[in-house]
Amino acid sequence: MSSALEIQRKRPALEKFSAPLVTVPSIGISRESQSTVQKLLDLRMHMVTPAYSQTVPIGADSTTIEERLFDKRAALKMKTAAVAMHLDGEWRNSLFRQLDSLLDVQSWDQSDQLADDASFFTFLRMIIFVRPARRPGIGLGYNGNVVAAWTTGRNRLTIECLPRDQARWVLARFIDDDCERAAGISPIHRIPEVLAPYAPEIWFSNGTDKAPTV
């Protein structure tokens, strides 16, 4: 294979996703070497951000909680755009409604923390990977971690999405009237396996709901 690419298993930080893997070479002093470095950096900028990226927003920073919630809702929706082609349209619209409800100034408590971007990204990656047909209810923990909750009768599954693809999960599963409880912290790519013993279709499947991913 003359164009073989080795896969890097190390999980990159949130800001590196969808960014070209541009490595700045050793910096020489000649004009040519400096020009090359600049071109590579420019390439990385131009291939990632929305158009007009050479500019920065100006104006006062958000100070009121209403402004900060507004900005956060917008930021999370933009994050969703990175994976929107993998989300069913109705799923995405419903997710946005849930975010609007979650981050509403009318219901905001002073002890609440704004949703963490990295946690939300873990949530999106988990949803696309696990492909539950049924959407979860969405909450927030302290530290702004996004919490996904599925409830079917007495059966409860709660997954707190941590940054860098980690998930803290807790469940109560009734099987033949016996309650089994379990909790753990797992990487999200292991969620299907750790939940498998508890027949998670009780939470994830619903005859009428469509899968999140197309």
Partner: protein, 156 residues
């Protein structure tokens, strides 16, 4: 005043913000997330919690009016911000203690009057910070009802 243990048959009411209510995919409220019973970690301006705050429901006289409505009034007198989407988790004291026992934790539910504003103030003590299983049991089994403030405000 000396803190007093609450009887197992009684209940305490805990304020749960909208973000920590357990909801379904259509935002219908089903109860509480375990995070509603999580001790708040330290912030830049406040130390970490080492107990949970609540209000003793049976302190109030039913003859005066719905107890839960009196709880809400006292909370408001203490300058707690309660929105229409704030939830009130009503938890049974005995069940709280049972959950603790099952997880090897001795939980005490005490009336610790905060005079003069809240003589019904209660503290849930003995919780461990990151014991998700216990907190999930509290949310699922000890909470007997979750009521929205918007509903309480309509009671007469």
């Amino acid at each position: 005043m000396v803190p007093t243990k609450l009887p197992p048959s009684d209940h305490v009411v805990r304020v749960v913000s909208w973000t920590r209510l357990r909801r379904d995919e259509h935002d219908n409220v089903l109860g509480c997330l375990w995070h509603a019973f999580q001790l708040r970690p330290a912030t830049a301006t406040e130390p970490a919690e080492d107990y949970l705050s609540a209000t003793w429901l049976e302190y109030f006289d039913q003859k005066v009016g719905p107890r839960i409505k009196q709880v809400v009034q006292v909370m408001r007198n203490c300058a707690l911000k309660l929105t229409a989407k704030t939830g009130l988790a009503v938890a049974n004291v005995g069940k709280i203690q049972d959950c603790g026992t099952q997880c090897g934790v001795k939980i005490r539910v005490l009336n610790e009057p905060d005079l003069p504003k809240n003589p019904a103030y209660a503290a849930i003590r003995g919780l461990r910070r990151e014991d998700q299983e216990l907190l999930e049991m509290l949310a699922a089994d000890a909470v007997v009802e979750t009521v929205m403030v918007s509903i309480v405000d309509t009671l007469v």
